[in-house]
């Protein structure tokens, strides 16, 4: 046991990862016990599952933005794919005798695979670009996904599936048809509600995947490409392969977040409000404020920034104003050089203070 403790003490990366996991678990325990004690308001209960899918979104986007070093503005698109995967699957099977948990679990796997597939497909053209150009094209793909899912009609009858972009009246359907996606009206009649426990488990799985990936041969290759593409190539790193890999995994995890999102709704629609670029930018704000490349930072920033607008409801119309001010304050405190220098000074002061006490 002491050997185990020593090995943790000597490995800083492992230590930092354990802190991240500990944080998530403590947060979970606090929220669960508050809910059990009945202190949590209904609006707060609704927030719990939001924490989960926003954290997964932020952590997976950080894999693209912070670890791979490419700015992606279409992350909500992959979330949309995951959400619709669940929606279609749940709708088709709603009459069957599969339990809701089983449907959720199967669609989580399916969503991860399908979102990864689309990530791969979109990655082929997108990852040939660099910087601003890449950002703009991902933005466009995100919008395409949102618009296509928002105007797609799918119905099922005894002849199988029918697709249309013009409306259900276009399709020749049997009497006992089932409209799965009704264009802009989306998928209706879903069972809402996903447990916070499932959400937390998925957050932890996401963290395991991303953190283990970063601290491995693969992660090093991805970060080498970020730091210096030319040197990475000259050192024998397959740049295309590892860029695709990181982008695909990032998309896949966003798909998982999409299932959580859709699972908490009774009607799933695809609008610019939920899967548009506003959402992608909001997730990017979480990543940037938490610190690009810092996974734990993404988790903390997401929790604060999801909680804040809710907690500021009492100031009504000043809500977004205060939110904006907090964003600016966080940016300055986290990233301005003088603020960082001050923070380091304070940490050193506290540390040296402790040592003096120990010496006494």
């Amino acid at each position: 046991m002491s050997k185990f403790v020593d090995s943790i003490k000597s490995n800083k990366k492992l230590q930092s990862n354990l802190i991240t996991f500990g944080m998530v678990i403590i947060l979970y325990v606090i929220c669960q016990s508050l809910a059990a004690a009945g202190i949590l308001s209904n609006s707060m209960k609704g927030l719990l599952i939001q924490f989960c899918y926003y954290i997964i979104m932020a952590v997976s986007l950080n894999l693209t933005v912070g670890i791979l070093g490419e700015l992606s503005l279409g992350h909500a698109g992959f979330m949309c794919i995951g959400a619709y995967t669940y929606g279609i699957f749940a709708k088709v099977l709603s009459s069957g005798n599969l339990s809701r948990t089983a449907i959720l679990l199967i669609s989580l796997v399916l969503a991860a695979i399908i979102a990864a597939f689309f990530g791969f497909l979109i990655g082929i053209p997108v990852l040939r670009l660099k910087g601003d150009y890449l950002a703009i094209v991902t933005l466009a793909f995100g919008e395409i996904i949102k618009n296509v899912t928002g105007s797609l009609y799918i119905a099922k009858d005894s002849h199988g599936l029918h697709f249309s972009l013009n409306g259900t009246s276009d399709m020749v359907l049997d009497a006992d048809n089932l409209v799965i996606i009704d264009g802009p009206k989306g998928i209706t009649g879903l069972t809402s509600g996903v447990s916070f426990t499932l959400g937390t488990i998925l957050v932890i799985i996401t963290l395991i995947v991303v953190l283990n990936l970063i601290n491995s041969r693969t992660g090093r290759a991805v970060m080498a490409i970020r730091d210096n593409r030319i040197a990475a190539e000259a050192t024998g790193i397959n740049v295309t392969k590892y860029k695709m890999l990181a982008f695909t995994i990032s998309a896949s995890l966003a798909g998982v977040a999409g299932v959580l999102y859709a699972g908490s709704l009774s009607t799933l629609t695809s609008t610019s409000k939920n899967f548009g670029y506003n959402m992608s930018i909001m997730i990017l704000v979480y990543v940037v404020l938490g610190g690009i490349g810092s996974i734990r930072g993404s988790v903390i920033a997401t929790v604060i920034l999801v909680l804040l607008p809710e907690k500021l409801r009492f100031v009504n119309s000043y809500r977004m104003l205060i939110y904006a001010i907090v964003l600016i304050a966080m940016m300055i405190l986290n990233w301005s050089p003088s603020a960082r220098a001050w923070r380091e000074k304070m940490i050193n002061k506290i540390k040296s203070g402790k040592k003096v006490k120990e010496a006494k």
């Binding site: 970060m223 080498a224 210096n228 990475a232 050192t235």
Partner: protein, 256 residues
């Protein structure tokens, strides 16, 4: 030694950028174990020649053979796998990563486990990572960088960054090492130390080295053979002292 196959054989290598022939009819033959210098005034095409050898540019004409294998026009990573590693004129380290990780990236193609094994932390991950750490630390020790293993690469002093770049190149286990102005920006002391390091690498790793350099003290001190480039052409080639005393070379460097 006459009958042994040369390690690097370059014939009629040329590249044109539009109307400019940056490297024209470049020939070089390097035998195993040699320390070869490539010199020339600024803009002579030295780095372009390096970029041709490492596949950054595709040659318009000519053939490059490494150890008998034709590597002309191959991709950079395939040329690296074939056995050519390089450093850069303006240091290109993986700045945000640690010194140890920089070398471990050099080891990337020599030690393998799957991405899945990494995510699931399978036993192969721990086993191979341990081997990689040991191998990387061995290399760092050679360059006296083992104490800085956990520092961020960008926090190293300049001279050590140069050394780390060489260590990373050696980690790929090359047959031929290309050094692009290794002494650029170094003070005389650091240059002296670098000369010792290069001679040491050559012995320790039995390495064949081709280097670009402006520092004549370094060149005349350690290179056995020289090639002089001027306006993309080979001006002179041969044993170091002979080349340095060549009147044409003196003219190109110092002017009439």
């Amino acid at each position: 030694m006459e009958n042994t196959r040369p390690l690097l054989e370059v014939n009629n290598l040329s590249i044109s950028f539009g109307g400019l022939r940056a490297v024209d009819d470049f020939n070089i033959t390097i035998n195993k174990g040699e320390l070869y210098g490539l010199i020339g005034p600024n803009g002579a095409g030295k780095t372009t020649a390096f970029n041709l050898l490492t596949g950054v540019y595709k040659p318009t004409e000519g053939i490059i053979r490494l150890d008998g294998e034709d590597i002309t026009g191959k991709k950079t990573i395939d040329i690296n796998k074939a056995g050519i590693a390089r450093t850069f004129q303006n240091i290109r380290l993986f700045k945000e990563l640690t010194v140890l990780d920089n070398v471990k990236i050099g080891l990337h193609n020599r030690f393998e486990y799957s991405t899945l094994a990494a995510i699931l932390r399978l036993p192969s991950y721990f086993k191979v990572e341990k081997e990689m750490n040991e191998e990387a630390m061995k290399l760092l020790k050679v360059f006296d960088l083992d104490k800085e293993a956990n520092l961020k690469a960008s926090n190293l002093p300049y001279g050590k960054q140069r050394k780390l770049e060489i260590a990373r190149a050696l980690a790929t286990n090359p047959k031929l090492l290309l050094l692009d102005e290794p002494a650029a920006g170094m003070n005389p002391n650091e240059t002296k130390e670098l000369m010792d390091t290069i001679s040491f690498i050559r012995k320790e790793f039995d390495m064949t080295i081709l280097l670009i350099e402006h520092d004549m003290k370094l060149v005349s001190g350690i290179c056995e053979k020289l090639s002089v480039l001027n306006f993309g052409h080979v001006l002179a080639q041969g044993p170091t002292q002979e080349v340095l005393n060549n009147p044409e070379v003196i003219t190109a460097y110092l002017g009439e």
